[in-house]
């Protein structure tokens, strides 16, 4: 009996000890060390061209991930219509080229805000399940785009977008815009009342409502800002590919979610930051690049990405348990 009690006590203290470990910090430290070792031992990793390639591939996914960060922080989990939303915005942008670059950008940003505002209103005002809603939105956007275009590729009649493919200081413009957008997003999240309210709503929606916060407005705001960020990413996606179809987004939905989660943003909401999403995006881009440089296939890259996200979701869960 005493032995049993001792064993139980030991078990409890052991599990408490495991639960009390600062999981997130430990994981981040392990990932950084592992990446540093792999980078140092991978030929051709430390080259200017490779750094450019990593930054360029991270920038468009990163812009989508920044949009996803707002949605996740406010407690709306994820948008599963990211790829379709970006594809539709890219189509709108290319189809508006004859208006001139600035009006076409404005139209695209408005389209992004509008598409996300409809979803944000349904989530914020009518408590629609964001996962189910965005699955429906993905189908609706695909259907709408196919109906409007007849399935044909959208070709710009005039090419005003080439400036978006430019490389100031030898670095793609999308990288500078991504960094600027991340800083701006962080300021909104950390330094504005709306940003702080988003964390409160994501942490505990009921308590936020009880405290008199305009919860639906805050949710809508998060989705609209997310939509604008998606639209910025879509501009570069369109310019880079020069044409657009509904399939243009490819795997960007899951890439963006992976980047947000890799940055440590809590899927349940209330925690996270834009700068951490930048870190998550870069970590995934670096891992993909390392695997390619070491001769692994695209399949291996997807597998590692999936495993990384799985580990990080578990880690964030354990961390939140520890804090409670």
């Amino acid at each position: 009996m005493t032995g049993a009690m001792t064993a139980a006590t030991t078990d409890t203290s052991a599990s408490t000890g495991i639960r009390n470990l600062p999981w997130q910090k430990v994981t981040i430290a392990v990932v950084i060390v592992a990446l540093a070792v792999l980078c140092a031992t991978t030929p051709q990793f430390f080259t200017i061209n490779n750094a450019k390639a990593i930054l360029a591939s991270a920038s468009i996914v990163g812009l989508a991930a920044l949009g996803g960060t707002f949605i996740m922080i406010v407690g709306s989990i994820v948008s599963l219509a990211t790829a379709q939303t970006m594809a539709v915005i890219a189509m709108v942008f290319l189809a508006s080229q004859q208006l001139g670059l600035v009006p076409a950008i404005a139209v695209a940003l408005l389209a992004g805000a509008a598409i996300q505002a409809i979803q944000g209103a349904l989530v914020g005002y009518w408590s629609a399940n964001p996962v189910v809603l965005t699955i429906a939105a993905a189908f609706a956007l695909t259907g709408l785009a196919t109906f409007v275009t007849g399935g044909t590729t959208v070709y710009p009649t005039v090419n005003n977008f080439e400036v978006l493919n430019s490389t100031p200081l030898g670095i793609p413009l999308s990288v500078f815009v991504f960094i600027g957008a991340a800083v701006l997003a962080e300021i909104i999240l950390r330094r504005t009342v709306r940003g702080q309210q988003m964390y409160l709503v994501g942490e505990n929606r009921r308590a936020a409502r009880a405290a008199g916060l305009p919860v639906p407005h805050i949710v809508l705001f998060a989705w609209v800002v997310g939509g604008v960020l998606l639209a910025v990413g879509a501009l570069f996606l369109a310019a880079f590919n020069t044409t657009a179809t509904i399939n243009l987004g490819g795997t960007i939905t899951f890439d963006a979610i992976a980047a947000v989660l890799a940055g440590g943003t809590a899927i349940a909401g209330g925690k996270g930051s834009a700068l951490r999403t930048v870190g998550g995006t870069l970590a995934i881009a670096i891992i993909a690049d390392l695997l390619l440089l070491r001769g692994f296939s695209t399949g291996a890259q997807l597998l590692v990405k999936g495993l990384l996200v799985l580990v990080l979701v578990i880690v964030v869960h354990l961390e939140s348990k520890r804090e409670k």
Binding site: Q44, N49, N50, A53, G150, G151, T153, N165, T167, G249
Partner: protein
């Protein structure tokens, strides 16, 4: 408390009403609309015949143009065409099984997943329904069955033509050797494997030219650009002289990836890039001097040939069991000849 509740439930009720109204209007519109298979029957050589068309969905530009040529061509002959098109492999299996159950005169299909379709195609053969496989070949497990007919793009030739484009382009720069990267379509697909067979064959015949790296771009333009950036960075501007994007929409991101890294494209010493199944954007890129070349497999030509084949089969003319189309190389030298044909998707 109750007032709070009622004020919150009002917008919800309005929202529900709006959604229900929108869905009702949508359903009414859908039910009253005229679908592709509902056109008025006309007298023709295929009057009374039903064709189950399990093709690519309109979300694929290639598929959309194919469908816009193929279906009207048969309807003009008086046939009823059941539109069962989709780009989803799982739904395609369901649609094919549904088609078999309806016992049409023929099932015409463009395969999204060759292996997944072996079972359903076997059911069609057992039910005595002829099947015409279009564009890419059926799985070897069933391809030789007498009940399976094919109108195929010559994917091996398409790979050979792309390799010829690249080697010709590099040689035109005064080089007699060069390294090439490949961003392929989905490598599990027979179409991709056949194109790589042809591509490798030409490189085997030209041993001073080397294929450095082959990556699976999954027919995804965005992924193709990312992979190209990484591969070009890996080998550097002096390490790569050529690149193959298996479709034009995969080749163009390769060009932009090179430009963003500061690599020259085309011209006297730049990267030589070839595409595949020609698209309008590819034609324009050749005209601009960036894409060196592409190859045909345009949807209009194969749609027309498939329509002719279907009509021959259903009017008792017994066409050959397998028809393989002739593919052509497209470069700046013969651009005008193919520009119109290649600008449909």
């Amino acid at each position: 408390m109750s007032s709070i509740h009622s004020s919150r439930s009002m917008p919800r009720r309005w929202g529900s009403a709006v959604l229900a109204g929108a869905m009702s209007i949508g359903l009414l519109a859908a039910c009253s609309a005229t679908g592709p298979g509902d056109t008025a029957k006309t007298e023709g050589s295929l009057s009374g015949e039903t064709i189950a068309f399990v093709g690519y969905g309109d979300t694929s530009p290639w598929g959309a143009y194919f469908n816009s040529v193929y279906m009207p061509a048969l309807e003009a002959e008086g046939a009823t065409v059941l539109d069962l098109t989709t780009m989803d492999a799982g739904i395609q299996v369901q649609n094919f099984n549904q088609a078999v159950a309806q016992k049409p005169s023929v099932i015409v299909t463009l395969l999204v997943d060759t292996q997944a379709m072996v079972g359903p195609m076997r059911k069609a053969v057992e039910a005595g329904v002829p099947v015409i496989v279009v564009d890419g070949p059926a799985d070897p497990a069933i391809a030789d069955d007498p009940g399976i007919r094919s109108v195929l793009s010559d994917n091996v030739a398409l790979g050979e033509l792309a390799a010829t484009n690249i080697i010709e382009g590099i040689k035109a720069q005064g080089r007699d050797e060069g390294n090439v990267i490949v961003v392929a379509g989905t490598q599990a697909m027979l179409v991709t494997q056949d194109r790589m067979k042809g591509f490798n064959k030409v490189f085997d015949e030209n041993p001073s030219f080397t294929i450095l790296d082959v990556q699976d771009g999954n027919w995804d333009p965005t992924l193709s650009g990312t992979l190209a950036q990484q591969l070009l960075a890996k080998y550097g501007p002096d390490g790569v002289q050529g690149a193959y994007g298996m479709a034009d929409y995969m080749a163009l991101p390769i060009i932009n990836a090179a430009k963003q890294l500061g690599f020259a494209v085309g011209g006297e010493d730049g990267l030589i890039v070839s595409g595949g199944n020609c698209f309008k954007a590819g034609i324009e890129s050749i005209r601009a001097g960036e894409l060196y070349g592409t190859a045909t497999e345009d949807p209009g030509t194969i749609a027309q040939k498939t329509a002719e084949y279907t009509i021959e089969l259903l009017t008792g003319k017994e066409p050959p069991r397998v028809v393989t189309l002739t593919e052509d190389r497209v470069t700046a030298a013969n651009l005008d000849e193919f520009a119109d044909r290649c600008s449909k998707a």
